[in-house]
Symmetry: C2
Subunit: 343 residues, 2 copies
């Protein structure tokens, strides 16, 4: 076990206690929560890819564009349908020609706020994820970036839309700009929830059960990994610190996680800690979608990450807190754009 | 050749001439067009399935519901994505487990105004189409209606939504009600266009080229089959009255059309005449999507249905008229609904 993972386990054993009820207690809980989490920003900004209305508009259109995949059936929306909270409800995502992807589709909501994209961190950011998807063999499956650009150019209406979004480019219809536009759209997919209202000082924004759940979440030690505004997505961690995960998830295959990227022994079974924003809406759970319900997921996590057996009421309280992370989807993301036609 | 088909050919040979320009000519064209076509209604009503806001709302949600298909990837929206004008841009629709459907996905816009659904008329109406889709082996692929109902009941949120839409039913979560709700939603998918403005007397709603195209469309005889408010969808007709269609479309397979339903010799190669509403937005064309461009489709139709070789300028004018049939999608259909979650 690497030192930093050991360190986390030690901190877990020392986890503090929060007074259990009353106005002052709420104040203590709020203060603690403010330190650990933090409300979502309005837009997940990026220096490398400034968010402009024109880029977002183009990205929102491209998000639904199936005609640039090898079999003309895959768009970003296939694995991240907005109406299902930008996840697809499947154990593992299904791409072109019904190819099964190696892992579960995570939601795109708030995803731009993470340290990287994908479960094993092999995409640096949402732009990189969009760019690599188009040539990903199990996703869009195109043979090259040039082939994608040819498809984009065949759809006449894109010329003007790319020009508007990238006015300084001589030849704007490029995969890099596809990635920037889709990335800019994704950077607006921020879903503020009752928990954000709580974090900005409105103690009544969470009910008693939700607050109890938040308190339990912190006391048990879930927050050591699931922290930051996205309640996760800020670090990598071994899945199954105490015991092999597959004994509990009953996973059909053993996934070596980040090891497949780095080939370092310390990265075996290490995954990016998933965000918990909207988690109640995005079953099934874990990198392989092997677990269907929120309470089962909580129970397994407490057991194999923290060595703890949670009680039924602890599981229920934490589930209530997690449901308070279900957010409001931005109006613009709920509008279907019309795609440019071929002629 | 059956008598009614022969009759149509005779009428075609007699087709009238319309004066070619000037205000009075427009009046003549308008009058003629009013007799042949007719503006779209606001909603495609049905006595069997009255359209209520609650049914439409439920239908709009169910339209995106993938979890009731055998592999949890197929929804109505898969083959009829709203952003691509409720068609999918593929030659033939692709359903569960990547099964290829026998024919091209027609647009759902204005589809409820036709004599039947599907290319070969083997679905009586949009409700019947929705109902049969869920057990259609190449579409949703479920083994039985009961299996679909079990899936619907697993998604807790549907209970209340079905109850609201069908308040008099004791047990509303039924495939019949799924079909009625989806049908009611589809009955609102009406797309008024500049042509409708013209048909209500606003002569300036079409420009000169579009009017020339409309005039040519009628003079050539296209309107004998493509008539009514949907500019088609009102009768069956043999595809290839003059010559076998596959000689021109270069179709990979020979589809016997309505013969496969009725087993009557007179129905060989007979298909429902497709609507031309939004045709410029819904390539590729014909029952097998074998032809990519509008002008190629026009050229082939004139040749093999009417025995006529159209000039380049006739083809361009008709294309202009057909583009005036591209309509405005109702605002409500451009909103993505949030799907109820499993818990």
């Amino acid at each position: 076990m690497s030192n930093w993972i050991k360190g986390l386990v030690v901190v877990s054993a020392l986890s503090f206690s929060i007074p259990s009820s009353g106005g002052n207690a709420d104040g203590g809980l709020l203060k603690k929560a403010m330190q650990i989490f933090g409300p979502l920003p309005q837009v997940m900004v990026s220096e490398k890819n400034p968010v402009t209305p024109e880029k977002v508009e183009l990205g929102r259109i491209l998000f639904y564009e199936t005609r640039i995949s090898v079999d003309r059936t895959v768009s970003c929306s296939k694995c991240h349908p907005i109406g299902l909270y930008a996840a697809d409800g499947l154990r593992k995502a299904i791409g072109n020609h019904c190819k099964i992807n190696p892992r579960n589709s995570p939601t795109l909501f708030n995803a731009a706020g993470q340290i990287s994209a994908h479960w094993i961190g092999n995409r640096t950011d949402v732009e990189d994820q969009a760019r690599q998807s188009v040539i990903g063999p199990p996703s869009f499956g195109m043979p090259s970036y040039e082939a994608v650009e040819r498809r984009l150019r065949e759809i006449k209406g894109y010329r003007d839309l790319f020009k508007k979004a990238f006015p300084e480019a001589d030849d704007p219809v490029k995969v890099d700009n596809f990635a920037k536009a889709v990335g800019a759209f994704e950077r607006t997919l921020v879903t503020p929830s009752p928990f954000d209202a709580f974090l900005t000082g409105r103690k009544e924004a969470l009910n008693e059960e939700e607050k109890r759940g938040l308190k339990t979440f912190i006391e048990v030690g879930c927050d050591m990994c699931h922290s930051g505004a996205s309640v996760g997505g800020q670090m990598y961690q071994k899945f199954g610190l105490m015991e092999p995960y597959w004994k509990y998830t009953r996973s059909e295959e053993i996934d070596e996680g980040r090891y497949t990227v780095t080939k370092k022994e310390m990265d075996k079974y290490v995954f990016k800690v998933p965000m918990l924003r909207n988690v109640a809406k995005t079953s099934p759970y874990f990198h392989d979608g092997s677990v269907d319900t929120l309470e089962d997921a909580e129970r397994i996590m407490a057991k194999i990450q923290l060595g703890k057996d949670l009680t039924k009421s602890q599981l229920e309280d934490i589930a209530s807190f997690l449901k308070s992370l279900t957010g409001r989807i931005p109006e613009d993301a709920l509008r279907i754009p019309l795609l440019p036609s071929m002629e």
